[in-house]
């Protein structure tokens, strides 16, 4: 039971920051940016490279560099590609973001190679928490995710920047009329979104390993989290990540044989990745606006 909770929390921390970044960017740019998930391997790869170049700089410095690089990349992409593409409508922006995602992935593979790499972290024995197994790194990842989430939502509620971001997400025309520089705030918001995704990627690479192709693996679970929570909704992204994590953990552990009473029967492991996809479909069919958002239905 505890193990289920722990597994869910670990998976939530994998997805939450990236999904939050996605919804944050969606709120101001109003198209689902497929290239966003590529900021995760980008941030992790830069962090790894910085850690290798400056061995004395420490892991934290490298992680900060990686996260900032991801944010910067997201901002530059928005400034030089998506601003123009979004002008031609969300369809162009969506196809363009797919193209950029492909190019980023291919570029990262060309520069960093396809072999999985690992951060140089000390090996420590795992902890036994009421029967659940948990490593130091996993605890750190969950804690850092929690701190980032709390810090982010505090910023959103309490600072002038947070207020501007909320204003633009709610009503861009009115926000501009009230004297907010929409373009600048949008760029800053996209930067924040990219940074969040970068942190998420770095944590994922720390706990497991850096797989340059992780964007492909993250794409649908992250979109599932964002859509289940409500595309554009910030608390929704976190709740959505938790919902996806819980569904993935539970479905793998439920013994479907108990229903038919003919011995243990589990869902084949190969379908694990399908749970996110299935949840996207179910959510879009029955509640396209997600748990916490509005819009999504046609007219």
């Amino acid at each position: 039971m505890i193990q289920i909770l722990i597994d869910t929390l670990i998976r939530t921390s994998d997805l939450a920051l990236i999904a939050l970044g996605l919804n944050l960017s969606y709120g101001v740019s109003r198209f689902p940016n497929v290239a966003h998930v590529e900021m995760a391997p980008l941030g992790a790869a830069v962090a790894l490279a910085v850690a290798a170049l400056f061995p004395g700089g420490g892991l934290v410095g490298a992680a900060i560099a990686g996260a900032l690089a991801a944010g910067l990349a997201a901002m530059l992409l928005h400034r030089f590609a998506f601003e123009r593409l979004a002008g031609a409508g969300p369809a162009s922006a969506l196809i363009g973001s797919l193209a950029i995602a492909m190019m980023l992935r291919a570029g990262l593979q060309a520069v960093f190679g396809t072999r999985p790499q690992q951060f140089d972290t000390p090996l420590t024995p795992p902890h036994d928490l009421w029967g659940a197994i948990l490593s130091d790194l996993q605890i750190a990842a969950i804690a850092i995710t929690a701190v980032c989430l709390i810090g982010f939502f505090a910023m959103l509620r309490l600072t002038p920047l947070g207020r501007s971001i909320r204003a633009i997400a709610a009503n861009p025309a009115l926000a501009t009329a009230s004297g907010i520089d929409a373009r600048r705030v949008t760029l800053v918001t996209v930067f924040l979104g990219g940074t969040l995704a970068g942190i998420g990627g770095i944590l994922l690479a720390l706990v497991t390993q850096l797989d340059i192709g992780m964007g492909q693996m993250l794409l649908l679970p992250v979109f599932a989290a964002a859509i289940v929570g409500g595309l554009g909704s910030l608390p929704g992204a976190v709740i959505g990540a938790f919902a996806i994590a819980l569904a993935e953990t539970l479905v793998m552990r439920i013994d479907f044989g108990l229903l038919a009473a003919d011995g243990p029967r589990y869902l084949p492991l190969g379908y694990l990745t399908g749970i996110g996809f299935a949840l996207i479909v179910v959510t879009l069919v029955y509640r396209p606006e997600g748990l916490l958002s509005r819009g999504g239905r046609r007219a």
């Binding site: 593409l85 363009g96 950029i100 492909m102 291919a106 996110g276 069919v285 999504g296 046609r298």
Partner: protein, 299 residues
């Protein structure tokens, strides 16, 4: 060299059919189907399974088209009241689910190994004459598909599809049943994509889950975007160019010294940059859609 050219031409014709199908859905109807490869795959697998069971290939091809049309019908029903981008994400998820089923249901689809050793086309001929006969058949079917798609675009139904693309609310207000149109165009597009998939299986005598990756959908999108959304001839031109480029890039290593794992990345990068460049610089594509000056002929 001649054999290679024949191969590229045959593949162009096969993917041309898939591109014409996507062009009908996305170009004419404005439906952002990011799961096109699923329809292609349903046709491909249906043909593989049925020919293995002893059905002659023309019958298997027809059955594959029927199965893929049903698939298109189902995808159309699924997101009947979703906004365009949401529906696009749902189709992406559906395509991944189809691929997961192909990957995991070994008894039906051969699992990760796929289905090989399919009897194929024209078993009586061999070598060059067989390739020529295959090309003739593929080109004939492409011509048939293209003419059908063009004819469809000229009818009242095609006009309603364009209206649905430009302004769905207006289409509804004028009394058109958008859901019915959507489902109908997806079923027709599905049958075309299924034909392409079936031909693909028959030509290569193999189909596997790796042929159904989201990247393949993106490849078909590249053909349509490059050729020009909304124009049947554009889709055919785009298919020829993209197939030739995609097949030709590995030969670059004979010209400039490139490590072989780089050529894979380079291929993906090239495809991505084509789409991005077209969207940013010439969004109407190489062969722009020509809006008709005549009134549609009523059926």
């Amino acid at each position: 060299m001649l054999e290679f050219c024949l191969h590229v031409l045959i593949m162009s014709a096969i993917f041309g059919i898939a591109a014409v199908s996507l062009n009908l859905q996305a170009g004419t109807g404005g439906l952002l189907n990011f799961g096109q490869i699923a329809l292609f795959g349903i046709g491909a697998y249906a043909v593989a399974i049925l020919t293995r069971a002893g059905l002659p290939w023309p019958a298997a091809l027809l059955a594959g088209m029927g199965a893929a049309a049903l698939g298109g019908f189902a995808i159309g029903r699924l997101g009947r009241d979703l906004a365009a981008e949401y529906w696009a994400l749902a189709t992406l998820a559906v395509a991944e689910l189809v691929r997961l089923v192909a990957l995991n249901e070994d008894w039906l689809t051969g699992g990760p190994q796929g289905i090989g050793g399919i009897a194929g086309l024209f078993p009586g001929l061999d070598g060059m004459s067989r390739a020529l006969a295959t090309l003739a058949l593929a080109a004939l079917l492409l011509l048939g598909t293209a003419l059908a798609a063009r004819r469809l675009g000229q009818t009242q139904f095609g006009r309603v599809l364009r209206l649905m693309r430009e302004n769905p609310d207006l289409a509804t207000a004028l009394g058109h049943d958008i859901v019915a149109c959507k489902v109908k165009v997806l079923a027709i597009g599905g049958a075309m994509a299924g034909l392409a998939g079936g031909l693909y299986t028959l030509y290569l005598a193999f189909i596997g889950p790796d042929q159904l990756l989201p990247f393949e959908t993106f490849l078909i999108w590249t053909m349509v975007v490059l050729g020009g959304l909304g124009n049947v001839a554009g889709a055919v031109v785009g298919a020829l160019l993209v197939t030739a480029l995609y097949a030709g890039i590995p030969f670059l290593k004979d010209v400039v010294a490139l490590p072989s794992d780089l050529t894979g990345s380079l291929r993906v990068f090239a495809i991505g940059s084509i789409v991005l460049a077209v969207l940013m610089l010439k969004p109407q594509g190489l062969v722009p859609e020509r809006l008709r000056r005549f009134h549609a002929q009523r059926p």
